[in-house]
Symmetry: C2
Subunit: 501 residues, 2 copies
Amino acid sequence: MTHDPTASLTELRDRLGVIADLTQASALMTWDQRTYLPPKGNTGRSRAIATIGRLRHDHMTDNGLADVLAALEAADLEGDDAALVRETRRDVDLATRLPRELVGRAAEQFSVAQTRWAAARADDDFASFAPVLRENLVVVREIAQAHAAGGDLYDALHDLYERDSTAAAVEAVFTPLRAELVELVGEIRERGRAIDVAPLLGAFDEGRQERFNVSVARAFGYDMEAGRLDRTTHPFASGIGRGDVRITTRYKSDDLRGALFPTLHEAGHGIYEQNLPAEHAGTPLGRYASLGVHESQSRLWENVVGRSLPFWEWAYPRLQETFPDRLGAVGLEAFHAAMNVVEPSLIRVEADEVTYHLHVMIRFELERALLDGSLEVDDLPGAWNERYEAYLGITPPDDRRGCLQDVHWAGGMIGYFPTYSLGTLLSAQLWEALRRDQGDVDDAMRRGEFGGILSWLIEHVHRHGRRYTPAELTRRATGAELSAEPYLRYAREKYGTLYGL
Amino acid sequence: MTHDPTASLTELRDRLGVIADLTQASALMTWDQRTYLPPKGNTGRSRAIATIGRLRHDHMTDNGLADVLAALEAADLEGDDAALVRETRRDVDLATRLPRELVGRAAEQFSVAQTRWAAARADDDFASFAPVLRENLVVVREIAQAHAAGGDLYDALHDLYERDSTAAAVEAVFTPLRAELVELVGEIRERGRAIDVAPLLGAFDEGRQERFNVSVARAFGYDMEAGRLDRTTHPFASGIGRGDVRITTRYKSDDLRGALFPTLHEAGHGIYEQNLPAEHAGTPLGRYASLGVHESQSRLWENVVGRSLPFWEWAYPRLQETFPDRLGAVGLEAFHAAMNVVEPSLIRVEADEVTYHLHVMIRFELERALLDGSLEVDDLPGAWNERYEAYLGITPPDDRRGCLQDVHWAGGMIGYFPTYSLGTLLSAQLWEALRRDQGDVDDAMRRGEFGGILSWLIEHVHRHGRRYTPAELTRRATGAELSAEPYLRYAREKYGTLYGL
């Protein structure tokens, strides 16, 4: 057999382009289902999303694609071409393990389940969601079994979101992290000075909030000509296609933090998607490295930058101009402290940086128990509330603010949550490396200049797309394996200062 | 070969369901491109729409579909099953005539062209659109040739929008219609009383307009739980999927009519789509009969109902409450007359009922000339303006209000415009039949009750989907062939009274 790698590469890219276009259709249909779809369109939309999922699977498992991929694996490729073939192989193998029938059934099940979840959450009615979640788990186990090849089901699912990671690896990071955080939270509670959050509470005009939040997202680098900001129950970011990366937020009627930090968080995701390598658009190489790496970007902009004092030295006068009546008399330091108050709370996406991981750990434990059947769905609210009491010392007053708050399990995503913490740890590790390379970036932030930070992230993370595995990307960017230490150094220093420990 | 029609029908519906889901994806991607897509996403979106178009074509021309269709044609089917097979045959034949390559190229060309048109229209820059329109015409001619099989190119295109109609049939209706309308417009100008449109001009708060317009659309029967209202440059309606039928409008800063009538017009389209037969959803039988029939619904609600005195007897007090400062002192009769003023104008979608057809006739003449090459694209603005001077006595001051006002040619739609007049004529013919069946419906309208009208339309038009050809549907609903006479009777009586002729 004669190989012409050039022609084969062109054919490969053409085939991947069709798959990417189907993915674009599916991503838009899902975004629309969460934003603007009329309620009576839900059933038809879920079915159509399932159909597109099956067609995508057909193309991914097509013999023609298998043939051209095999031919390219036999050729002597280097650099990006070799990486493209390697990453396409991963995606093809992942698809091939799943029966076509399961792909469509799962897509429809999870699409319907998300709609049912949104209604159950709005009505605070876990009982109406429980049967749907049970059905989800049946389907999720089928998917896990297809991937696990006899191995651990949770690991098989987790690998879909965080490549090469395992539950054991997560535990190895979580165990010391939990101990250190419990200690830090205890110190803050026992010895920390009191911080008043009152300046952030009460009503703030939503239109003004949105204008301010968007202005900050743009300053960070989120391109509104290639993106949007809409409103949803659960904030999310979606890279729909090249030049089309959308984010959403929600507004809290009584807390300025409720929309601001989700907006900055999702903008961080959006900035990553907007800077993925254009030359690899429509191929696996043009996609993000992992969800943990994705989360490192959102958490870096949301927290490491967006909750820092140098950032607010620039931003706070602008926010005061936006809300002169509310904030005109509140000083920068008081405002900054209020934005960073550490206190046990109910909602993960609104949690402070320190207690955040405890929310994730609770989900990690519960989803493993749901998956292996040691926790019954009907017992989830109780188990959830027990853990909140044990880890955070508070009990959700209802399931809306308890086990119904996150969309993930409704969307069939089990094994996803740990990536939030892994990404947060990576954000601190990347920040240390960035400061090693660039020196102090605080002065730039004080001037509202974020281009240096963005350039470093593009150079070391975004532009690589999926060229490297998450572990390799981490090593190349930071010179070390992923570790909780940089994050703990960051948290101890920041909160030690803030709370006068 | 043994036929099991039941199994074959199930297979047919399954295959058509996949095609319908691809159509849903494509419809949403197009709706989104006109409403919310970030500008930098346009190129990727156009390519993805083209991909979906090619995949849809693949499924429509698939050998498996051809086989099951042939088997069903050989079976002895009756009623809806026979109609389903007949209508699927039409769609399959239409698809099969087009080469796959042309389908994708056309989808991408027309998608890009619409974006270029929107920019050219915004900038009033015909020169930037001219090369795109030339490219469109090349592609449109290829499509026409594929369908015409040596016959007339315009007829082949027109049949795509108005089945079984021809340019000669359109001319046979247009020629007497033109003569009668020119006479009526002349009488109004020479002998009609003066009508003051001032009450409708000036600024009206857009939010209040929208609330009022939506309340009317809902009263007519447009279901906002199965639909939306958004804002676009060019108002349109799109049946995206079952339970998901969206309409758009635009707002004029200085004229109350600018958003109201497009909203009612598109709501009329939406109501038709929302009442297509649910049992045939996802098959050709569940689709609209023709664009002319579609337009008969929009024009009936917009004009026959929406510009009538009995309707405003109910609606006007509500509008006065909405704008007490502007309309509190304006009487019903003066307001109703202003809403119906007949005067030559530049924008088709804002034209009064009488001069409207002249706008359509101009486009019908010009698009035939563009298609057969007797009119060069560069000469279009001049030819457009000449005809506006000749037919309406006014010359557009710019191309934005001239030949750049409509999206159709940018979207590759040649042969579409006549359906606007055919549908308008049908709306009056349906109205006569409805009043024959139901007696005077004015009293119901005066009470804000439109359910009787809607029921009649569902019974005689909507619920049939594509079961009958447009001509057959017209005969069954009205007892006669389509004719301009009912419309002319309606127009002479209404405008004779209004203008005191």
